[in-house]
Symmetry: C2
Subunit: 306 residues, 2 copies
């Protein structure tokens, strides 16, 4: 298939009538109307055999989750999305139908997030790769810096489920109805864009892509977490589902990754967030549970190591 | 090497003190100050074995030209650059020194263009891949649409040289001093950002990445070009250098690609551009030379086919 035909196919998949877009897919660049606030900008790539396997989910899921992973970075800054670019690396064997399925998943995620895909790029490659660039805006973006000793640690979204879902896909038991919630959390994560625009504004925030322990260490290297509050963020079924695939639920929460929950530091309650611990002055990261305090390494799901 | 170490290495390579950057490399997103004009936005990927071979040039050249290829899209819209994101796919064998060389080339290109690299992404992959996202601004962006019959066709920058330089690299004769200009055009292309912001504003513009014939067809499907004027855009040495590597200079100009020259349609002269032909009402693309008029297929350097 020629590049021009691929461009036409992708253009057909995306909504073209969203406000704020002056020039969409098909020119040298996209053109967006003037934005009144500071710009918040991120890029995220997902590569086959590194971030996903096609045996684990359909191509529309692969498209959907790659887009949500990028959108989650905007959520972590408290930004609203303004536009998206989609750069695709396609193996020679990738068919029209494959591309249509991938684009349908990206289009669904973009629609849910309320943003237009305004341009992109194609290249050949030996592995399927999806690189999503998202532009957003925020009057006062929230960074990873600024947490203060005594701040509460607040979480929006579920923790640990996606790791259980990944394991279910790896083990070939993703069709088990008892694991449906975990598999859905892995295949169809949701960027927490509305939660990220919370008022009052957190002092610092990050999204959980590499696991709570590593991501939280980027906001607060010293913190005491409550095991019961963490387990509650996995939902009622987490312990049972984790056991069914041979995993420890707390390990999934701390080191699992790809939850795309938000973790914020704030001295006051954040609507839509649950308190799971507190920023401390020293001592590294610890979890307090029935067996007392346990130190936790700021180790996560390192795609480079994995 | 861990991802955090790679981030630190890349951050060290790029200037961090450029105006307009509120949050640079290292947070979930970059934050840029408010931009007063419409936003012009592009993404471009270059993949090993598709767009380049490491045997053809050093890693700093690979970084430099991948950045300029993306910047050329901004030039084609008449935009000024505002910021850049750099997403890297790295093979497992890629060393610290390799990454430093690659980043040095990107940093050099970014400095020449006058823009900050404010963020990026790392992933593992089996092939080296560089994806550059560039944001720009323009009060009145110039698109590919709008050329009118009778408009002159104007070119800024050289044509054909890069294709000769590619051939010299393929043949292993890139060290021949007689081919130096062509090899430099291929390894170190320059995005024509200043030329693109020309006044008067062209009616339509595109950059030459796939070869003049294909790129011009996107602006004006019917046009008559002058062979002498085209050959002059290759510079004095083009014919001799093309002959030395066994290529026809006009074929290099029409179908070579990766020149990153600009082609514009305008009823009036464009300072810094040379007139090479005229938009016509019908007849497709033709070149008029000593042997009369010859029809030219809108065929270029198709990376997907190549």
């Amino acid at each position: 298939m020629s590049e021009e035909r691929r461009v036409a196919l992708v253009r057909g998949a995306f909504a073209s009538d969203l406000p704020g877009v002056t020039v969409g897919i098909g020119d040298d660049c996209a053109v967006l109307e003037r934005v009144g606030e500071p710009l918040v900008w991120t890029v995220d790539a997902q590569v086959e055999h590194v971030h996903f396997e096609r045996a684990w989910m359909g191509l529309s899921d692969i498209g959907y989750r790659s887009f949500m992973a990028a959108a989650s970075d905007l959520a972590a800054m408290g930004a609203r999305p303004v536009g998206a670019l989609w750069a695709l690396a396609l193996p020679a064997t990738f068919s029209d139908e494959d591309l249509a399925a991938l684009a349908a998943g990206v289009a669904e995620a973009a629609r849910e997030v309320g943003v237009a895909v305004v341009g992109g790029n194609f290249t050949r490659a030996s592995e399927l790769g999806l690189t999503t660039t998202l532009l957003g805006a925020a009057a006062s973006p929230v960074t990873r810096q600024g947490a203060a000793v005594g701040d509460g640690i607040w979480v929006a979204g579920a923790l640990g489920l996606a790791r259980v879902g990944l394991e279910a896909c790896r083990l070939g038991v993703a069709g088990d109805p008892a694991l449906a919630a975990a598999v859905a959390a892995f295949r169809r994560p949701r960027a927490r864009l509305e939660a990220g625009r919370v008022a009052p504004r957190p002092r610092a925030m990050v999204d959980v892509s590499d696991g709570l322990a590593l991501d939280l260490s980027r906001v607060a290297p010293h913190a005491l977490l409550d095991e019961g509050a963490l387990l509650a963020r996995g939902g009622e079924g987490l312990a049972a589902m984790a056991a069914a695939v041979g995993l420890d639920p707390i390990a999934c929460i701390l080191h699992g990754g790809e939850d795309y929950a938000l973790v914020a530091a704030s001295p006051t309650a954040l609507p839509g967030f649950a308190r799971v611990g507190e920023v401390t002055a020293s001592g590294g990261l610890r979890v307090r549970g029935p067996r007392g305090e346990v130190a936790v390494a700021p180790r996560g799901f390192d795609h480079f190591g994995g």
